[in-house]
Homo-oligomer: 256 residues x 2
């Protein structure tokens, strides 16, 4: 949890939640993203079995969540408060997309500020009074024709963007240079292509056509996949057996 | 829905879902992001009241979802298949973060390809066999210490990233917009792999070893390069000539 110091200064605030299950699902959403601070403002019903069931292992996050009476109380010590809205036009707040909002939230928290992301009621969202406590709004750009994003789903999207920002500090590992084996060297690739060219001759693949066009296409295909040394050895093994067959076929042809 | 033509070529595939409620929540997640194509592969239980309740207005998306028996069937006409994994290290697929995966998926769909995003079972994810049908993996970078992302939450994150791409919020470096030919379909790739398997037998490549390991490595290599239809034809032409040689060698062997 404390892998990212900024994360300890970020709280997710749920206001007037109607379904306890959504509080549980929100706790789970936070915990999967390495976040732990949930605050509950005047939930309609207290936490129940359904809430803990849907937290699915995030009982600690849910159980530790303070319950307070008003949003003002929940964000009293915060220096940056973002209100999540389906449509923020009602109140003239600056409005950010989730990635941008998360970037700002993480930056402020990184500077030492307490930061809150605030989510309204399932049906009616945040009141104008509540939005006026926010420094800016976050808008998840749902389809205007069907914008009924589940509360926990909205929390998940923001928590995900916060995590991406936290991880973004260190360029993320999860991308391409996967733990594959050592890529084949230029020389290894050229030796493979030479053997491939010979093999195509031996199986009479070209049948009188110029070999250049096929070889060019094959080079492109194999270079694109950036084979490992091990993969090139595998391919060359196949070529070797193909050449063995071709020679056998040819020798026998000579015999007859 | 048809606001973005590319969206009509993007399907979200849920494999072996255990809780019908999650299928409903996934349908809702898609619809809020302006997406409509859900495919259900062998769900453990049929859609029920809970599923439709949790779809919360996305009954159309849920009700229209075809139910098929296997993942292969669900992606038969797809030219780009992304498998969502908690941890992809098991199978050495190229692994993308959600935003990057969505960028690629939308780019391919924009070029006219059918594209699938595949989500596994709640507890156990996708099997290795299922991952082998995928061109690449998507990894939502959850906290390694608590990575139990809810299925619908994972769908929500990917659907959200797809929508961000469709909206073109950040004009994504739409990655390798190579002017290549039409990518080979799932079925075309599988026919190629079947012929490759036969060919390896005929040239006696395995020499008593189990063929699975070599085939798994070859699948990975060729899927990674996302061959065009034309390239697959070229490769199959080489295999056909190799098989011809192998048969000639064998027939002659019989003669002598």
């Amino acid at each position: 949890m404390s892998q990212f110091p900024a994360a300890t200064r970020l709280r997710f605030v749920l206001v007037g939640t109607q379904h306890p299950g959504n509080m549980g699902a929100a706790a789970r959403a936070l915990k999967t993203m390495g976040l732990a601070r949930l605050v509950l403002v005047a939930p309609e019903k207290p936490l129940d079995e359904e809430a803990f069931r849907r937290s699915a292992g995030a009982e600690d996050v849910l159980g530790d969540a303070p319950v307070v009476a008003t949003l003002a109380e929940a964000v009293a010590d915060c220096r940056f408060v973002l209100g999540c809205t389906a449509r923020a036009r009602r109140v003239q707040l600056e409005e950010f997309l989730p990635a941008d909002a998360a970037a700002r939230a993480v930056a402020k928290a990184g500077e030492g500020a307490e930061v809150a992301l605030v989510f309204g009621r399932e049906r009616t969202g945040l009141t104008n009074e509540e939005l006026q406590l926010c420094h800016a709004a976050v808008h998840i750009p749902s389809d205007p024709e069907f914008s009924s994003l589940n509360l926990a789903a909205a929390v998940q999207v923001l928590a995900y963007e916060v995590r991406m920002q936290l991880l973004g500090a260190q360029p993320v590992a999860a991308t391409e240079p996967d733990s594959r084996e050592q890529a084949a060297s230029h020389d290894q690739m050229e030796s493979f292509f030479a053997q491939l060219g010979e093999t195509l001759d031996e199986i009479d693949f070209h049948k009188g056509r110029a070999p250049e066009s096929a070889m060019r296409k094959l080079r492109r295909l194999f270079l694109r996949s950036e084979p490992s040394e091990q993969e090139v050895r595998l391919l060359r093994g196949i070529l070797a057996d193909t050449q063995r067959m071709a020679r056998l076929a040819q020798n026998n042809g000579k015999d007859s």
